[in-house]
């Protein structure tokens, strides 16, 4: 029994699901001096995307997310992309070829995906104006963009409470 407990003790946290509060984090930002966290975006609908340069569907998704961001007002919606590359240069190389206008934060140690209990890459979360997960996507399908647009429109109309 002791061995069984030790066997499972090292497991990641259970996956954060829809309806749960999104775990807060603050990480160094790529290309900016100041770190950025979820709390800094309180009051906005936030799309958190976990990605890496070695992940094919992540690379496919990012230009689509950039189009989505560019088509929506910045005061109501933000994308926060958490890069989990071990090497910062890998992320920078990909972004040089596929630039995006949204914030990229760096988590080479993988602490934030561990806190969110990710079970695959890419995984993304749509978080409402009060910090609650309202949509979760695993993998990437082009149809997700239409779903996201509808959800964002809906969530942007909901009231934000004071933090």
């Amino acid at each position: 029994m002791l061995a069984a407990v030790m066997l499972f003790a090292a497991g990641a946290a259970p996956a954060v699901g829809v309806g749960e509060r999104a775990p807060d984090f603050r990480l160094p930002q790529l290309g900016k001096d100041a770190p950025l966290g979820l709390a800094d975006l309180h009051g906005k609908v936030v799309f958190v995307d976990f990605w890496a340069s070695w992940c094919s569907p992540c690379r496919e998704a990012m230009p689509q997310y950039e189009k989505l961001r560019a088509s929506l007002p910045g005061d109501a919606f933000a994308i926060l992309a958490v890069n989990v590359d071990e090497t910062r240069a890998d992320a920078e190389k990909f972004l040089a070829a596929h630039p995006v206008g949204y914030a990229i934060v760096l988590d080479p140690a993988g602490e934030v995906p561990k806190a969110y209990g990710l079970i695959g890459m890419p995984t993304s979360y749509l978080i409402d104006r009060n910090g609650v997960v309202r949509w979760r996507g695993q993998g990437f399908k082009s149809a997700d963009i239409d779903t996201l647009r509808q959800e964002i429109d809906k969530l942007a109309k909901e009231p934000a409470h004071a933090s």
Partner: protein, 76 residues
Amino acid sequence: MRPDLLLRLVCALACGASLAACATTPVQPWERAHLARWDMRWDPDSVQTAMKQHAYFSKEGSNGTIGAAGGGCGCN
């Protein structure tokens, strides 16, 4: 507690704890950078694989030996 019983208990606990050494740490989804490398793929170059299979089939006279559907009659 008798010393021999205590010794047995300690030995039993030590044996149980040593089983934990058999545990593996699973690779988490965000740690798969090396596994996602091109040269880590099962079939990194589909053209080269097709050529190798063609050579193999020709030498063995056994078309479809690598994963082809059929009943093994060699006629499909």
